[in-house]
Symmetry: C2
Subunit: 201 residues, 2 copies
């Protein structure tokens, strides 16, 4: 099955292949995902997958982008809410649902890859920084809807990411039943801070 | 060189061996650290290291404990400061120095292992949760020195860890020059929140 063959089977086949790749990257780390490992998991030919993805790195990047698309599917409905803090709360709940997804045996593969690839220059790292930049921009845009004009949106986005990372740690590593409460309380403090009038305004 | 032989060489030899193990775990992940890899990096015999550590898992646990001891060397001088928020600031700066350490090519090996082993039950995971619990207890004790009595210390410790994780991400993954400023600003907000009188007090 060459590039054309796989494309002919439509997006759903590609989606199913990449869902499995996301699962493997969650369990074993993105470095543990190769065309051979994926072919074995799917009982497909290695040459077919190789013809489609071209290289291990291209497969890793496609997997990250697929994971990011899955996150966006969860976060996108927040745009139906009126502008304001409820959209930030929705965004957090959507990310929380992704982190808790039982289909991700080892947690968010993007978060894992950030630890794995932070010191490895190359196209995978570049793809990751691009994904992180876009997620920062999305949370900045949501805070901009209700934050005091003197607030630093990048600062708020940093603190929003902090809550997501700490939730991942508390829920996945510590298996702490209060992880969700702690994250929600931290988010309410952050929303309150965002609204607070600043001297610089 | 058996267990006795290595012990005879004193703590400094063991320390140098484990410093190299910490470096490898930082670069390749804790899963990438084995007795064979470490023996090759140190140009030592595999059988000597095996006799000393006994198993890959025991080596991984000794490496995590050694990394935690290195962190404590950095954080311990904070006890010389008078009780209060300056100790929390010192703790953060000490952790920041560790995260930025050029001897750690891929960032903090404990943070990396938390992502790698969160789904792998066994002694390595247990050692990790023990280390995380102790670090939570230490930051809770520091916040207890100045927080309003109605504040939830576990909540504050969660938010303190959030800042450390987000600093690691922004400095190591995003290579963001403002990472330190963002983390310091977030920490000041957290200190302010800790001091704020609560309805529950």
């Amino acid at each position: 099955m060459g590039r054309r063959g796989l494309a002919d089977k439509g997006d759903s086949t590609r989606g199913r292949i990449l869902d499995e790749a996301v699962r493997i990257a969650s369990r074993d780390g993105l470095g543990g995902l190769s065309i051979g490992v994926l072919a074995a998991a799917l009982d497909m030919s290695k040459s077919g997958l190789f013809a489609h993805f071209g290289s291990k790195e291209a497969l890793q990047i496609a997997t990250l982008e697929h994971a990011a698309a899955r996150v966006r599917e969860r976060t996108a409905p927040g745009a139906q809410l009126p502008p304001g803090p409820e959209r930030v709360r929705f965004l957090f709940r959507a990310i929380q649902g992704w982190i808790d997804d039982p289909g991700l045996p080892g947690g968010c593969p993007i978060t894992g890859a950030c630890i794995e690839f932070d010191d490895r220059d190359g196209p995978v790292r570049e793809a990751l920084t691009g994904l992180q930049r876009r997620s920062t921009e999305r949370s900045m845009a949501l805070f901009a809807e209700f934050a005091d004009p003197g607030q630093d949106l990048e600062q708020l986005a940093f603190e929003f990411r902090a809550i997501c990372l700490a939730y991942h740690h508390a829920a996945r590593m510590l298996r702490e039943p209060r992880a969700g409460d702690w994250a929600r309380n931290a988010l309410e403090s952050l929303i309150e801070k965002a609204r607070r009038p600043t001297a610089g305004a």
